[in-house]
């Protein structure tokens, strides 16, 4: 942004300096001519009533809508004897309505005037060669006809310069550049910038600034176009003028909205008001008719000036408050613009104040708003581009940071995963330990309750002398049987079915050898298969106890063992046809209480029915409680 200041200054000086004074001293400048209102086709003769008039001369319209007719201006210039006559020319900075140039009574040049079919407005300067044969040595008479301006507020005639072509050409070129070439370039650039900006807005609706800038550029391009296009068919003229006003008003209004939003102020009501004001002008023109254009132009366009001052005030305040370089640059550009606008206004209406202050400048009728607006658009565009670039680079830094963050995150996640894995390992190990300890507890309990208690009672009995060797052998056998069963039930890959199978096999053999007929109705349901080792053991112990009783005491001939499932209840029934419990006192005792205790541990109940005809032992246990413990299930699964 630092280069913008010097660039502006340089521009200003290169622009202003040559025009602070009149053009080159050599060409002759006619600052006075005689004027005559006349629509004559040829220069009226001397007696017509010429009035001496200083140039530049503006003739205001007598009344709105009527315009005025053509006018003739007459003046003389010297051709020195020694002067080269081959290349003389007359230079008119402007002749808006077109007209004719007569030299010594002959037509030397014509600039197209408005016809009923076409309306012209020539912004460009005119450089017309003066044919050598028509030049006289000494005093020559120049007559200029300016056409009428039927739709104009005023008719303007500039100071005319006469001189050598070589001398006038640079002047002409310079003015041409500023007055014609620059607007053409402006139109192209505005169109492109508008297209670009509006495309961005279309793709990113949230970036309203780009939209407003695009619109501003488009409107300015349109307005400038009305200066670039110098001839317009009459049919489209009104539309053309309407377009001009829409563009001018719109430019100011949209610019204001852009600036407000740029500094971060969103005032919906103000914006709506601006839009409304924008509509008033063209609407007024449409309703009142083209004749009122000058009035509309003066009042409505003039009314935008206070709006721009208000905008300037807001922008200055924002500059001070926010202290951002971009806002300051924009404010400066706006100031320049507003000043230029004001200047143009004064120039257009030939404000006496300006004419007195800078007569030479005012004479030139240079309109600055064109260029100031270009600067403004440049500033706005530059602002947005800078923003754009900043957004891109911040995007880059954001991306870099995101990368960094991602990496940190990844490494942290990896760490966490590792620690989690370690924890899981530990947990699994703990669970295994737990399972192992549970197993140990199981074994301990089994040894304690089963083998242990049997051995201890037997020891006491032996020491008391109550056990004969037969009974001792019996007890030891029972211990071995208990041990076999316990090992069976607790072996890791044995489920209930396996333990049961082994149990059946053992007992079938035993009963067979004892010549007891046995019937086995075993139907192990799916749910029972999932019995944990403890439950299986208890159940088998109960069966073992019952069958041992049958074997030893019952003196039975037949025994029936049935295992079945009724709903959620597992039933074990052992029936024999031997003598009942009353007949055999040995059976009563801790054997039965043992069975009952085991049944309780299974959450079940034990039914003992003993008559003289036989005994029935019925165990009922719920299967729902047979859900395996998760650790053991894990072990079994592993």
């Amino acid at each position: 942004m630092r280069w913008l200041g010097p660039w502006l200054c340089g521009l200003f000086w290169s622009f202003a300096l040559p025009f602070m004074t009149d053009a080159c001293a050599q060409p002759q400048v006619l600052d006075h001519m005689q004027a005559l209102e006349s629509s004559a086709a040829a220069p009226p003769d001397a007696a017509a009533g010429w009035v001496d008039t200083p140039l530049p001369h503006s003739v205001a319209a007598p009344s709105a809508g009527s315009g005025q007719g053509a006018g003739w201006y007459r003046g003389g210039f010297e051709v020195p004897a020694t002067a080269e006559r081959a290349s003389w020319a007359v230079y008119l900075p402007y002749l808006y309505e077109g007209g004719q140039v007569w030299l010594n009574g002959s037509l030397v040049g014509a600039i197209p005037e408005s016809t009923p079919e076409t309306i012209v407005r020539w912004e460009r300067p005119q450089l017309l060669p003066l044919p050598a044969p028509l030049l006289k040595e000494g005093m020559n008479e120049l007559a200029i006809r300016t056409a009428g301006a039927p739709r104009r507020a005023a008719r303007h005639v500039p100071r005319v310069q006469v001189g050598l072509w070589q001398e006038l050409q640079p002047v002409y070129d310079q003015r041409m550049f500023w007055v014609r070439t620059m607007p053409q370039v402006t139109v192209v650039v505005c169109t492109l910038a508008a297209g670009f900006s509006l495309f961005i807005y279309w793709r990113r609706r949230s970036e309203s600034l780009y939209g407003l800038f695009g619109l501003t550029a488009a409107l300015w391009g349109l307005r400038t176009l009305t200066f670039v296009i110098e001839a317009m068919p009459i049919g489209s003229w009104n539309l053309w003028r309407l377009a001009y006003h829409v563009a001018t008003g719109g430019f100011i209004m949209v610019l204001t909205m852009f600036s407000l939003r740029f500094v971060g102020l969103r005032w919906p009501r103000v914006e709506r008001g601006l839009l409304l004001y924008w509509l008033i002008g063209p609407a007024w023109l449409v309703l009142a008719g083209p004749a009122y254009e000058p009035l509309v132009n003066r009042l409505w366009t003039g009314g935008t000036i206070p709006i721009t001052w208000a905008l300037l005030a807001v922008m200055s305040w924002a500059s001070i408050r926010q202290r951002k370089a971009s806002i300051m640059v924009l404010t400066v550009a706006l100031v320049v613009c507003v000043a230029a606008g004001l200047h143009d206004y004064l120039v257009a209406w030939n404000a006496p104040f300006l004419v007195e202050l800078l007569p030479a400048w005012a004479r030139q009728r240079y309109f600055l708003l064109h260029h100031a607006a270009n600067i403004l658009l440049l500033a706005m565009g530059g602002m947005l581009t800078a923003r754009f670039v900043r957004a891109l680079s911040s995007q880059e830094t954001l991306n870099a940071r995101l990368e960094e963050l991602n990496q940190t995150l990844e490494s942290r996640v990896a760490e966490r995963e590792k620690s989690l894995a370690t924890n899981f390992e530990r947990l699994a190990a703990l669970q295994r330990q737990n399972a192992a300890s549970q197993e140990r507890q199981l074994i301990m309990r089994e040894i304690h309750d089963g083998l242990g208690s049997r051995l201890f009672t037997s020891l006491l009995r032996v020491e008391r002398g109550e056990m004969d060797h037969r009974r001792t052998a019996e007890v030891l056998r029972e211990c071995i049987a208990d041990m076999r069963m316990a090992l069976d039930a607790m072996a890791p890959d044995h489920d209930f079915q396996v333990a049961l199978g082994n149990f059946l096999f053992r007992w079938q053999t035993q009963l067979q050898e004892a010549h007891i007929q046995s019937t086995w109705a075993i139907d192990v349901p799916e749910d029972a298969m999932k019995l944990p080792p403890q439950s299986a053991l208890q159940l088998l112990h109960i069966a073992q106890e019952a069958l041992t009783n049958v074997l030893k005491h019952a003196r039975a001939r037949h025994v029936r063992v049935e295992l079945r499932q009724r709903a959620t209840v597992l039933e074990l029934e052992i029936t024999d046809d031997g003598i009942g419990a009353e007949m055999s006192p040995d059976r009563i005792g801790h054997g039965v209480s043992n069975m009952r205790a085991r049944a309780r541990r299974l959450d079940g109940r034990l039914d003992l029915l003993s008559t003289a005809r036989g005994t029935r032992v019925l165990l009922q246990m719920p299967l729902a409680s047979a859900a395996p413990l998760p650790e053991i299930a894990m072990r079994q699964a592993a």
Partner: protein, 218 residues
């Protein structure tokens, strides 16, 4: 014409028990009772007993080797393994080595004698545990093809009936029950078991050969 029994057992109590059982039975005669494997092997060649009663926990050489020796050099000899548990892993290994059955250590004298007689009569003691292990053995024996031995050893060494039989034994059914279920006599069941044992021994031998072949030893 009594059955000549050789006992190989290192614990004196059990030597006494087995010897008493054999001696008290008129149908059996005791060849010798030794307590080391080496002595057993030597006596096997010398005396050629009808029945060999082997305990696996011998002090010098593993009982399985004695069994293998007997199976190779005395094919007519029936071998019984003495064991505490009817589903011991060792029993199945002994059967693979050539044993024909097992005998529980805590069996009564009558039971021991009866067991020997049954064996001589063509019986084959088996328990649910043994049946399960045999089934597992045959399942594990089906090897996957390798580059040097494209075809597996034996696709399915057991017939469907034999597998079914083993499964039923594993569930705890008696031979009578199985016989009635499969509609065969209990004797046929027993014969099947004997066949299965022989297959297991053959299978394990072939497996050894196969393994040796795999390792490039043969």
């Amino acid at each position: 014409m009594s059955t000549r029994v050789l006992i190989v057992e290192d614990e004196p109590e059990f030597i006494r028990r087995f010897s008493d059982a054999v001696v008290s039975d008129p149908g059996l005669s005791l060849v010798a009772a030794v307590s080391t494997g080496q002595a057993a092997c030597a006596l096997l060649d010398l005396q050629r007993p009808d029945v060999l009663l082997v305990d696996l926990g011998l002090p010098d050489i593993p009982g399985v080797e004695v069994i293998a020796h007997a199976a190779r050099y005395q094919p007519d000899c029936d071998i019984l393994v003495v064991t505490m548990f009817a589903d011991d892993e060792h029993v199945v290994r002994s059967i693979e080595a050539g044993a024909c059955g097992y005998l529980l250590k805590d069996a009564s004298a009558g039971r021991i004698a009866a067991g020997i007689h049954e064996l001589r009569a063509g019986g084959a003691p088996i328990s649910p545990g043994i049946a399960r292990r045999v089934l597992a053995r045959f399942r594990a024996g089906v090897k996957t093809p390798t580059p040097s031995q494209p075809a597996p050893l034996e696709a399915s060494p057991l017939t469907a009936r034999e597998s079914e039989l083993l499964r039923m034994i594993a569930k705890g059914f008696t031979f009578d029950t199985i016989g009635s279920l499969l509609d065969i006599s209990p004797h046929t069941v027993v014969a099947h078991v004997k066949k299965i044992y022989r297959k297991l021994a053959v299978h394990s031998r072939s497996e050894a050969v196969y393994e040796a072949g795999q390792l490039g030893l043969l």
